[in-house]
Symmetry: C2
DNA sequence: CGCCAGGTTGATTTCGCTCAAGCAATGTGG
DNA sequence: CCACATTGCTTGAGCGAAATCAACCTGGCG
């Protein structure tokens, strides 16, 4: 049969599980086809850059699978992990909308599969379909809130509290097997990345973890985390949420 | 003449100088009328709150005159100054768009005059006029960039550098009388507010200022600032911009 | 006047960073 | 299969920037 089989590496947008949860859920049939035709599927090895801070925005990326981290470097090579992206996440929309260079670098934390759509296609779609713009508007509003909260947290909370808060977030995102009042889960991130997310150095995080273990609030073994009492661990955390 | 003179307390949107520079520049005649009819003009004394963190968003505020600060408090009464707003600024749009409570409190730093428009009116307009949504989209993208940069700056720069950067921003915003290579200006903010903006305590800022004076880079006297050499002051500042 | 808020200064402490070394797990080439 | 680099994590010691606590000064303002 001359028909090509469903290309292993190139998933159709119609079949994409992430689409419904992303901004693209408002695309009509026709636009979706346009989108599907225009897209390029790319794969990145863990550690590879999807785009760099300072680059002009060429278009938008949709994370199909894998984990992405957004980093910002300064002159000294010092870097901050500004955020992370899960499958379904749209990368680089901010830059496209403002028409300014990327403010962060996007780096594949694990092997990633990403769909790329050129900016002119997106701009066309935005012009045609106001609902899409509205989706991005809500998305931007959400990101803005998170960013504000993050800033405030960095200014007021200790490393310890920020880390515990991170654990709380990870628990919500990466389903944890509940066991009574306790919890156990596999952390999706290395110590280094967790340290960067919290805005500190690995050494400090190691000490913080040690301290938490001493207090009997949790056990860390490699990426395995066991918490006897969720209540106890998250108790001191007075969040503005 | 029976014609009323331009009402001192209630400016017409048609005459508003700020409109052209704000998101509202894309409104057509009809919408502008709608806007004008729907708006309420409010005045706030310095120190008064326009809205509080955690409040549901009732609508959007346009700053007509005065200076507004966005603050976030935590349990200890600790507060961070998350940003400031000048005339023309639209307040509270983020909350309206996400449909979630305000994440910051808006406080009048000086006496303020503010126009308020109910959320249902805004939502209607957004639905009718996609261009308005696009304006807000760009605005959100810009705010998001700023917030990200701010976060990163807080994590990597010293208080000293952040403060010098603040001075640079203030210089650009509040026209300073240039005098050769130097500069002199009146700071629009109290020490407390500048400290909060930089994410530190007033004591630390006082010391920082002292240090800068010792180095002969600037003179602070009350709110008067004199800088002999702009070059020298801003030299050490390696900004990612 | 005395009061009070805003600002400065000093003394002390603390949190987190830096530098440096050791260790365990993983990988790589001979 | 072993010697070895490499990379990620932990631990220790010391340091430094900034927070905290506390006093004091200043300039309005009732």
């Amino acid at each position: 049969m001359p028909d090509r089989p469903c290309q292993a590496s190139s998933v159709s947008c119609f079949a994409c599980q992430n689409r419904q949860r992303a901004e693209w859920c408002v695309l009509d049939e026709e636009q979706l086809q346009q989108f599907d035709r225009a897209k390029t599927v790319r794969t990145y090895k863990a550690g590879a850059f999807i785009y760099h801070e300072g680059d002009e925005c060429q278009g938008i990326h949709c994370l199909e699978s894998g984990l992405v981290s957004f980093r910002k470097y300064d002159a000294d090579g010092h870097d901050t992990l500004v955020g992370m992206g899960n499958p379904g996440r749209t990368l680089g929309y901010r830059s496209l909308l403002e028409g300014s260079p990327h403010v962060t670098s996007a780096e594949a934390t694990t092997d990633c599969q990403v769909c790329f759509i050129d900016r002119v296609v997106i701009r066309e779609m935005l012009a045609q379909n106001p609902a899409l713009g509205y989706q991005f508007l809500r998305r931007a509003a959400k990101d803005l809130r998170r960013s504000t909260e993050r800033y405030h947290e960095g200014n007021t909370l200790s490393v310890r509290d920020r880390f515990v808060h991170l654990l709380l977030i990870l628990r919500n995102k990466y389903g944890a097997t509940a066991e009574g009042a306790g919890l156990s889960m596999t952390l999706p991130l290395s110590r280094q990345d967790m340290a960067a997310l919290v805005g500190t150095r690995p050494e400090t995080l190691a000490r913080t973890i040690h301290q938490i273990e001493d207090e009997g609030l949790a056990r860390f073994s490699g990426r395995k985390l066991t918490v006897p009492s969720v209540e106890a661990l998250f108790a001191d955390l007075e969040l503005t949420a």
